[in-house]
Structure formats: structure tokens, C-alpha cells
């Protein structure tokens, strides 16, 4: 291909490939200003939440402790003794822990799906039920426990959990903004709902749950 023809194509590309529309200056500034002005969770604190997370448990014993913590919180289904056995018998019993964690993950993801369904339904009305915030806080804690368990979940679930973590931080932020009577609550809610859609969380949850449920034998 001649250089001249290539130059022609490049010129046409400039006019036709992902051509930016007029910059929505004020619309974006409103979001940025809200993020700067709010001390509650926002895009900024989402990033901080992610950067600030450190693995809490390492090695087989710590891994079992994570499972135990999840189960104690009621995420697991009556397997309180399983992680204790893992802890006492060492790494050779890891498969038992894997099963317990997978079961906990299924329960957790199912509950998260229920919360997100509620948030989406209520979000259309412009506010969230007060029950949402404490529920989201609990699920956020559980999400981080699962994420901070080395080897506890496979990469697909980890990706989903990371996105759920961000969504839950946003939802907690909405709850805090609403509880505090902040004028930015609507913006936070809009951001949270858009985040759910952009990350396609509901379809991903609905796709992964049946598969995971089968693996967990529940």
C-alpha cells in the first residue's frame, strides 16, 4: 500500500473512527465536583478502597481462618466446624475448606444478587430503603473476606467479587449520603446505578450462580 493511500485512510479515520462528540463539560464537572465535595464513598474512595486493601490472611491456617470468619458471620450454612478442622489438621485438609468457601461464595453471591435487585428497583424511585445500607455494609465485609482469602476463589469469581466490592462501596455511600440528608445523595445513587449497568453485574451474577451452585453441591 502506498504511503499516499495510507495517509488518505488515516485522514478518513480521523473523521470516522470513534469521533468524539462535543465535550459534556458541565455534566462531567457536576460529577467531579460531587466526588470532590463528598467525604463519603465516591469514585475516589472506590479507588482508595481497592488500593487500600491488603491481604488479611496468608497460608493454609489463615485461609481456614477466612473461611471460619465467613461461616461465623452466617454466610456459610451450618459448617462451623469444618474450618476449625482445617485449622487443626493443617494444609492436607484444604479440599474441605475449598468446598466450604465455595458454599459460602454461593450464599454470598445469592444474597448480593438480592440486594442489587432491590437497589435497582428502588433506585428508580430516587431513594433507597434504610435497610439497604447496613445490608450492603455486611455484604461488603463478606466480599472483602472472600477476596482476601488467597486461593480461596478462582479468577472468574475474583473478578466478579472485585466489581461487586466497588458496587457495594457505592451503595453504602448512597445510604450514608441519604442518612446524612446530603444533596449529593441523588448523584451518588445515579453513579451507583450506572456502575451496576456498566459492569453488567446482574447478568454476570445470574450467569455464574447456577454453575457455582452445581460445583458447591448445594
Amino acid at each position: 500500500m502506498s504511503d499516499k493511500r495510507m495517509d488518505e485512510l488515516l485522514e478518513q479515520l480521523r473523521e470516522e473512527y470513534n469521533v468524539p462528540p462535543q465535550t459534556p463539560r458541565q455534566e462531567m464537572w457536576d460529577v467531579i465536583e460531587a466526588g470532590l465535595g463528598e467525604s463519603g464513598p465516591s469514585v475516589i474512595s472506590l479507588d482508595r478502597a481497592r488500593r487500600g486493601r491488603r491481604p488479611m490472611w496468608h497460608g493454609p491456617a489463615g485461609w481456614a481462618a477466612a473461611a471460619a470468619a465467613l461461616l461465623v458471620m452466617g454466610v456459610g450454612i451450618g459448617r462451623l466446624t469444618a474450618p476449625m478442622e482445617v485449622a487443626s489438621r493443617g494444609a492436607s485438609l484444604a479440599p474441605v475448606g475449598v468446598s466450604a468457601l465455595r458454599t459460602a461464595a454461593v450464599e454470598h453471591l445469592g444474597e448480593t444478587e438480592a440486594l442489587l435487585t432491590l437497589v435497582r428497583a428502588e433506585g428508580r424511585g430516587g431513594t433507597l430503603d434504610p435497610v439497604v445500607r447496613p445490608w450492603a455494609v455486611t455484604l461488603l465485609t463478606q466480599t472483602r473476606l472472600l477476596l482476601d482469602t488467597p486461593g480461596g476463589v478462582d479468577s472468574n469469581i475474583r473478578d466478579l467479587l472485585e466489581d461487586l466490592e466497588l458496587a457495594l462501596v457505592q451503595i453504602v455511600g448512597v445510604g450514608e449520603a441519604e442518612a446524612g440528608g446530603s444533596a449529593q445523595a441523588g448523584v451518588e445513587l445515579d453513579l451507583a446505578l450506572r456502575g451496576l449497568d456498566n459492569r453488567e453485574l446482574m447478568p454476570r451474577l445470574q450467569a455464574i450462580l447456577p454453575e457455582l451452585t452445581g460445583l458447591a453441591g448445594t
Binding site: L9, R14, E15, E16, N18, I32
Partner: protein, 196 residues
């Protein structure tokens, strides 16, 4: 003109006369108007680049917003070694690439050529087959090539600025652009000889 409006205009003019570095200093001390001035000076180029990379309005807005928010929250980390706009571009490119990787795991980037709504009237448009091949070839470029290609050939950035933004040598930027163009040429291939 009222005294208040005069005073406001005067403040705006004062900010407009400041360098980015001065504005950063003011923003660090909490001056909201300085944040806005930094935003106004840079938002068009950041949004355009984000849009070229994302091909979607919502994604481009998200990337732009997140880039500014991150930059404003990390102003204390800006040492002034490079221009503020370069530093901001580095953050924006990083945000966009990370965001696109996440999006691409679940869906392909939207085809944009067919939807191009801003084609200059009267300008000869690309043949559909060429467009499709080029689009696929651009989408298939590795990030390091695609980013340089979009910045240089579509948005008109110079190699020096690209190099500073991506924290690579200027020669690396040129080499990446060369490789990107070669890949596009190869993608058009022999089937396109009639146009060549």
C-alpha cells in the same frame, strides 16, 4: 455591570492568567476555582482521547471523570517534573486502559465506524469493506500500539508528549506507531489491492 459580577470576572481573569503549576498550588490549598480552571483547560483533550479509546459516550465520560477525580485527589503526588496536562494524561490513559480491559472481558467494544455521526459533509467516506477491516485491525492492536496510534494519528499528539504520557522514550513511541501502522497495512492486505 454590578460590583459582584465585576469582582467575579476579575477573579476568573486572574485564574486564567496563572500557570498550571500555580493553579495546582491553589488547588492543593482547597481553592475550588483552581480545580475548575484546571478542569476547563484540560477536559476537552482528555475527553476526546477517552472517547477515541472507548468509542462510547458513557465510558468516555466515566474515564474522564475518574481521571480528574484521581488527579485532584493525588495533587500532593504531583511533583511538577512534567507538565500537569501530561501527568493528567498519564492518569487518564491508565484509567481508560484498565477500564477497557474490564469491559472487554464481558463484551466487545462497540463498533463505531458504522455509527459515526460526525462525518464531515461532502468528504469522501471510506469504502465499507475497508472501514470494517480497519476497524477490526485497530481493535486487534495491542494496547501499547493502539494507544500511540490513536494519540498520534487520530488526535494529533506529538511523540514527545506521548512518550512523557506513557513514560517511554520518544523512540519507543515512534517505533510503536510504526508497528501499529504496519499492522493496519497488513490487515488491509492483498484484498485491498484494488484500493491501493
Amino acid at each position: 455591570m454590578s460590583q459582584g459580577v465585576k469582582s467575579e470576572n476579575s477573579a476568573i481573569n486572574e485564574l486564567a492568567a496563572l500557570t498550571d503549576l500555580d493553579l495546582v498550588e491553589r488547588a492543593r490549598s482547597g481553592d475550588q476555582a483552581a480545580f475548575r480552571q484546571l478542569y476547563d483547560r484540560n477536559v476537552d483533550r482528555i475527553f476526546r482521547l477517552a472517547y477515541r479509546m472507548a468509542g462510547e459516550d458513557d465510558l468516555a465520560k466515566d474515564f474522564t471523570q475518574e481521571a480528574f477525580l484521581r488527579a485532584f485527589q493525588r495533587l500532593d503526588q504531583f511533583r511538577g517534573d512534567a507538565a500537569f496536562s501530561t501527568w493528567l494524561h498519564s492518569i487518564a490513559v491508565s484509567v481508560a486502559l484498565n477500564g477497557l480491559r474490564k469491559v472487554d472481558r464481558h463484551r466487545k467494544r462497540e463498533r463505531s465506524l458504522e455509527d459515526a455521526a460526525h462525518v464531515t459533509p461532502g468528504r469522501r467516506q471510506m469504502e465499507p469493506d475497508v472501514r470494517e477491516r480497519l476497524e477490526q485491525a485497530i481493535e486487534a492492536l495491542p494496547d501499547i500500539y493502539r494507544t500511540v496510534f490513536l494519540m498520534h494519528d487520530l488526535e494529533g499528539y506529538g511523540h514527545r508528549e506521548i512518550a512523557e504520557t506513557l513514560d517511554v522514550a520518544e523512540g519507543t513511541s515512534k517505533a510503536r506507531l510504526f508497528r501499529a501502522r504496519e499492522k493496519l497495512r497488513a490487515a488491509l492486505g492483498e484484498e485491498m489491492q484494488e484500493y491501493v
